[in-house]
C-alpha cells in the first residue's frame, strides 16, 4: 500500500494535501460536500487582530488559466475565529493551520499570541506575502530583513511551529527563504499569489476594484515549481508547496521539486471535491511513476 503519511514540525499528516488559505473559508461550506476528516490539514482563512471588511468589489477576475483576487484579508478577527471557527474545524480528525496576517509587526505578534489560547490549532502559517494589504503586508514579504524580524518576533510569542508563507514577487526568493529560516521558521509555505492586473475594456478601469490582485491558478505553477526547486536545496526546513495544483500529477511535481506537502487553492472553486479527489488519486500516480510513498518522492526531481 502506498504510504501517503508525512511528518512535519507540529503536523502529523495522514496525507500531504490541504486546502490553501483563503480558498476554503473555515471549512464550513466544503464540509457540506465531503467529510473533512479526509484532509491532511486545513489552512484557515487569514486571521487579523480586529475584524476586517476587506476591499470593495469586484474582488475576483478570471485570467488565462488563472484568476486574480483582492479579497483584502476579510475576516471576523482572531477572537471570533478561535471562538466559533476553530471549534467547528476541530470536530474533524485533521490538522488545523492558522494563517496569520497583520499591518504591523505588533499585530502579527498579537494574533500569534491569541492562538496560544487554544490547543486545537497545530501550526501557524505566517502570511508575510499578501499583496492585498497596503499597510505593510507586502514589504514584510519582499525585504529579507523585515521578513526575518517578523518571523523572529512571532516565533518568540507562540508555542506553535511557524510556517512562513513567502511572496513570489521578489528578485531573490532564496535570500528571503534563508533569512526566515535563520530567524527560526519551522517551515516554509510557498508560493502566495503574484501581483497582477486586468483592465476592463468597456469601463477603461482595472477590473478589480483594488486595481491589483493576486494571480493564482495553473498559470503560476511553473513559477511555484521553480521557486520551490531553488529554495528546497538551500534550506533545511520543509516546504508546503502550492500554486496551480489541479490534479494528483501536479502534487507529484511539487514533491519532486522539494515540497513535503501541498496546498490547493483556486482549484476548489472549479471542483469543490478537488482535495478529496486528489487524495484518492495520489496513490495511483505515485505508483505509476515508481514511488511507494510520499516521503520517497520529496526532492527526487532535483538534479545536481
Amino acid at each position: 500500500m502506498t504510504n501517503l503519511a508525512i511528518e512535519l514540525p507540529g503536523l502529523s499528516l495522514k496525507n500531504p494535501v490541504m486546502p490553501a488559505s483563503g480558498c476554503f473559508g473555515f471549512g464550513r461550506e466544503y464540509a457540506t460536500f465531503y467529510n473533512l476528516n479526509k484532509l491532511g490539514a486545513v489552512i484557515m482563512k487569514a486571521a487579523t487582530m480586529q475584524e476586517r471588511l476587506g476591499n470593495p468589489t469586484p474582488r475576483v477576475a478570471e485570467t488565462a488559466s488563472g484568476m486574480l483576487n483582492a479579497i483584502g484579508l476579510q475576516n471576523p478577527g482572531v477572537t471570533k475565529i478561535i471562538e466559533t471557527e476553530v471549534p467547528f474545524l476541530s470536530q474533524f480528525n485533521t490538522n488545523i493551520i492558522a494563517n496569520i496576517a497583520g499591518s504591523s509587526l505588533e499585530e502579527y505578534v498579537e494574533v500569534a499570541r491569541a492562538f496560544n489560547e487554544t490547543d486545537q490549532v497545530h501550526a501557524l502559517e505566517l502570511n508575510i506575502s499578501c499583496p492585498n494589504v497596503k499597510e505593510g503586508g507586502l514589504q514584510f514579504g519582499t525585504d529579507p530583513l523585515m521578513a526575518a524580524r517578523v518571523t523572529e518576533a512571532v516565533k518568540k510569542s507562540t508555542n506553535l511551529p511557524v510556517y512562513v508563507k513567502l511572496s513570489p514577487n521578489v528578485s531573490d526568493i532564496v535570500q528571503i527563504a534563508k533569512a526566515v529560516e535563520a530567524a527560526g521558521a519551522d517551515g516554509l509555505s510557498m508560493i502566495n499569489t503574484l501581483t497582477g492586473m486586468q483592465i476592463h475594456l468597456p469601463s477603461r478601469r482595472p477590473l478589480i476594484a483594488n486595481k491589483t490582485g493576486g494571480l493564482s491558478g495553473p498559470a503560476i505553477k511553473p513559477i511555484a515549481i521553480r521557486m520551490i526547486y531553488e529554495v528546497s536545496s538551500q534550506v533545511n526546513i520543509p516546504i508546503i508547496g502550492m500554486g496551480g495544483i489541479q490534479r494528483a500529477e501536479d502534487v507529484l511535481e511539487f514533491l519532486l521539486a522539494g515540497a513535503s506537502a501541498v496546498a490547493i487553492g483556486t482549484a476548489n472553486f472549479q471542483n469543490p471535491f478537488i482535495c478529496a479527489d486528489i487524495i484518492d488519486d495520489l496513490p495511483r500516480v505515485l505508483k505509476q511513476y515508481g514511488f511507494n510513498s510520499v516521503r520517497e518522492a520529496i526532492g527526487k526531481g532535483i538534479v545536481a
Partner: protein
C-alpha cells in the same frame, strides 16, 4: 442544499439577439430548485464557474431552463455546447425569492434585460399558488426582447425598450409612475435600474436579485460581498442572496 451534478443539454436555441435558451435535464436539481436560485456552471477549462439563474423548472420532465446573454468568452463558449453534451454544475444555489405570500396578493415583477429570466420561474410559481402577476420588462431594443408571450400568460405585461423600437419607449421606471397597483415587487436587472426602481418604489415591500463577480459560489471565498446592515457588516451574494429584501442592503 446544493450538489455538484451533471446536467444533460436537452435543447439550445437563440431566442433573441445574443441570447440563448438552454434546457438542461437533471432530477436532483429540478426537484430542489426554487425561484431566484442559480446554477454555477463549469464551462470548458475556465478557471471560474459562471453563475446563471434558473429561468424555469419542470418537475415532471426534470428539466431546468436557463437563459443567458453572450457577453464574454465564457457565455460564448457555453453557447457552443450541443444537445447531448453534459454540463458540470453546482446547484441549486442561494436563497431565492420569498414565495410564502398570502394568496390573492398582487406581485409586480420588474425585469431588465438578462435579469428577466429568474422572474419567469418566480412568476409561474406564484401564479400556480394563486398570486396575481403583473410584469414590466425592459430591454435595449426589439431584437433583445424575449419571453413576452410567456409573461403574458402569467398576467398583464408591459414591455419597455430603451430605444422605443418595441413596446413603450424608455425605462421600466417610466411606466411605474403610472401607479400600477401591487402588494410586493420583485426585481432583477442591472444595478442602475434596481437603484432607480428602489427610489421610485420607496416604501413598497420589495425583493431584488443582485449580481457580483464570483469565485467559489458557495460562500467560502468572500468574493461576492455586499455591505449590509447586519451584525457582520456584510452579506454574501452567493449564499445569503442572490435575493435580498430592499430594506436590508445598500446598493
Amino acid at each position: 442544499m446544493m450538489k455538484r451534478e451533471k446536467m444533460r443539454i436537452v435543447s439550445t436555441r437563440v431566442i433573441a439577439k445574443e441570447t440563448i435558451e438552454m434546457v438542461l435535464e437533471n432530477k436532483w436539481i429540478s426537484t430542489h430548485a426554487s425561484p431566484g436560485q442559480f446554477l454555477h456552471i463549469q464551462i470548458g477549462s475556465h478557471t471560474l464557474r459562471r453563475p446563471i439563474s434558473i429561468a424555469d423548472c419542470n418537475h415532471v420532465t426534470n428539466e431546468i431552463t436557463i437563459l443567458f446573454k453572450i457577453t464574454g468568452d465564457g457565455t460564448r463558449h457555453l453557447g457552443e455546447y450541443q444537445v447531448g453534451n453534459y454540463l458540470d454544475v453546482l446547484g441549486p444555489i442561494g436563497n431565492g425569492f420569498p414565495t410564502n405570500i398570502t394568496a390573492q396578493s398582487t406581485v409586480l415583477l420588474v425585469g431588465g434585460g438578462i435579469g428577466v429570466p429568474p422572474l419567469y420561474f418566480l412568476g409561474k410559481f406564484l401564479k400556480e399558488n394563486g398570486i396575481n402577476i403583473k410584469a414590466v420588462l425592459g430591454f435595449q431594443g426589439e431584437d433583445h426582447v424575449f419571453y413576452e408571450p410567456n409573461f403574458r400568460e402569467l398576467g398583464e405585461t408591459i414591455i419597455v425598450t430603451n430605444d422605443g423600437s418595441y413596446g413603450e419607449k424608455g425605462y421600466v421606471t417610466d411606466v411605474l409612475e403610472n401607479n400600477l397597483a401591487f402588494d410586493y415587487y420583485y426585481s432583477c436587472g442591472p444595478t442602475p435600474m434596481l437603484r432607480s426602481l428602489i427610489s421610485v418604489l420607496k416604501g413598497k415591500k420589495g425583493y431584488i436579485s443582485l449580481e457580483e463577480r464570483m469565485g467559489c459560489g458557495v460562500g467560502a471565498c468572500l468574493a461576492c460581498i455586499l455591505p449590509a446592515k447586519n451584525e457582520r457588516g456584510y452579506k454574501k451574494i452567493c449564499s445569503d442572496g442572490p435575493v435580498f429584501n430592499v430594506e436590508e442592503v445598500t446598493i
